[in-house]
């Protein structure tokens, strides 16, 4: 992230880049229209927020009719909960292009405000949704021959590090980091998933998607987030990520539809937040009610459009694909 020079009012993205962005938006709308997926809009400000300890909210407040003492509102980090309420209400397949917000994230690959394409497919399993995501990227970017591969999280750790990420404990993972000259590893205080994240981002991520689209599938159940746990192997979840040119582009789930399990995961994550000194988040009761009513079995995915543009145009700083990044506000 570069610092804005005084008097530099110009956008960080070139006109050509802004045109490429507009073409991507047109292309994806045509893609979904052809497939009968409905475009929807949901609130960017919500009364609750996800409990994921790795995501912190930007907070706002409304004061006015009905709320004389002001109501706390969270800028949403994803439209997921609202879209699931639409699905439970019988929307059928839906997509949305919207801004998403995260506190604490800024760098060459992060801007606190970014653009997501998120969509849900009732009746799809993770494989079908990955097929559709690959088709969308190929069609919208006009690269019909872009290679696509699928590799499991476990096979990547075995291949690159010779470690089994489903079995290795935190000490083993730390020792690997230390023995492979990851300086600072000896002083880091991380849990098992923290070590997996460090090894993934340091040793594996840069290798992913060199020649095309790489799907990483079957994430450890401890990193399931809102995905269903696999019935075949309870150590893994039906979660996938898409990488291209070493950049994490998308995260998808075969969605958890069980309200009770969802409620338990919220509570557990809030406990983890509490013990790590982070404030617990207000739980989205409306989502849980919707799930009790019945969320159809479905898969959903969120694709970062800013990063997709970076890949398409060969740019390595998010500042170059958005008109005005944090440093230019």
């Amino acid at each position: 992230m570069t610092q804005r020079h005084a008097g530099d009012w110009r956008p960080g993205a070139s006109l050509e880049t802004l045109q490429a962005r507009a073409r991507v938006l047109q292309g994806l709308r045509a893609f979904f229209e052809e497939r009968g997926v409905l475009e929807v809009e949901t609130p960017l400000l919500g009364a609750s927020f996800g409990t994921d300890p790795s995501i912190e909210p930007l907070v706002s407040a409304f004061t006015g009719p009905g709320y004389p003492d002001s109501k706390r509102l969270f800028l949403q980090s994803s439209p997921e909960f609202f879209m699931k309420r639409l699905l439970a209400a019988g929307s059928g397949p839906i997509y949305q292009v919207c801004k998403a917000f995260r506190n604490g994230e800024a760098g060459k690959r992060h801007n606190p405000e970014f653009t997501l394409l998120e969509w849900y497919r009732p009746g799809f399993n993770a494989n079908q949704l990955m097929d559709e995501l690959a088709a969308l990227v190929r069609e919208v970017l006009g690269q019909p021959d872009l290679p696509v591969e699928r590799l499991s999280y476990r096979s990547l750790f075995m291949q690159h590090l010779g470690l089994d990420p489903l079995e290795a404990d935190a000490l083993t993972l730390q020792a690997y980091a230390r023995d492979h000259n990851l300086l600072g590893a000896e002083g880091l205080d991380l849990d098992r998933d923290g070590w997996l994240d460090l090894l993934m981002t340091s040793f594996i991520e840069p290798e992913l998607g060199r020649d095309g689209l790489t799907f990483v599938v079957d994430y450890p159940a401890s990193q399931a987030s809102l995905a269903r746990i696999s019935a075949r192997d309870p150590r893994v979840a039906h979660r996938f990520e898409l990488y291209w040119k070493g950049l994490e582009l998308a995260n998808g789930f075969e969605e958890l539809v069980d309200a009770e399990e969802q409620s338990e995961r919220f509570e557990q994550e809030n406990c983890r937040r509490f013990s790590a000194g982070q404030r617990p988040m207000p739980i989205d009761d409306a989502l849980l009610s919707a799930m009790e009513h019945g969320l159809p079995p479905c898969s959903g995915v969120a694709l970062g459009l800013d990063r997709l543009l970076m890949c398409q145009l060969g740019l390595d700083d998010i500042e170059e694909v958005v008109a005005f990044s944090l440093a230019r506000l």
């Binding site: 994230e105 923290g194 993934m200």
Partner: protein, 190 residues
């Protein structure tokens, strides 16, 4: 003890790592969409000059290094130490050969140098980019040769040896670029 949070990291910030002062060259924010955030930092160890990479967990705090750059006047060398003075406070500092590094080749009395102080002691000395020094010894070149091709070695008053064009003679003053150690031009008497 002053500390810096990873959110304060930026190029030029000075930190203590394993007992040595280091300066940040580059700071990269790394975070999987659903995972732990890290700062991946490239630093230069100011004692050894070596470049290293280190990973911090976001939000971690690191001890600040009490390091500052000051412009000081070079006074003299006693053989073991090189003595400098702050022209405003008249405070004196002594740098050892390690801190002087290449600068011993170029500095002479009254030169202004950029000196890096750690806990009040010099750990690095940067000579001015250009210095004017007198040639104390060089082979007499052929008269009338002005081509400058080839050149010859010349010993300077500081003891440094640089290549100069054949027409430059003993007793003349020349301008040298201390960053490359190369002859720039003859110097007019200043």
């Amino acid at each position: 003890m002053a500390t810096y949070n990873t959110n304060e990291f930026r190029g030029g910030l000075k930190l203590m790592l394993d007992g040595d002062p280091c300066v940040i060259i580059e700071n990269e924010f790394v975070k999987p969409g659903k995972g732990q955030a890290f700062s991946r930092v490239k630093l230069r160890n100011l004692m050894t000059g070596r470049v290293l990479e280190k990973t911090f967990r976001s939000g971690e705090s690191v001890e600040a290094a009490d390091v500052m750059d000051r412009t000081l006047s070079y006074l003299y060398s006693d053989g073991e130490f090189w003595h400098f003075m702050d022209n405003e406070s008249y405070e004196q500092y002594q740098a050892d050969a390690n801190a002087m590094g290449e600068a011993t080749n170029w500095v002479k009395e009254q030169d202004s140098c950029l000196v890096t102080l750690w806990n009040g002691s010099p750990i690095a000395v940067e000579a001015p980019n250009f210095v004017v020094l007198e040639i104390t010894e060089t082979d007499p070149g052929l008269k009338g040769d002005t081509s400058g091709g080839g050149g010859k070695p010349a010993t300077l008053e500081t003891g440094a040896v640089v290549r100069v064009p054949l027409f430059v003679q003993t007793g003349e003053k020349i301008k040298v670029d201390t960053r490359t150690g190369q002859y720039v031009s003859r110097a007019k008497d200043e």
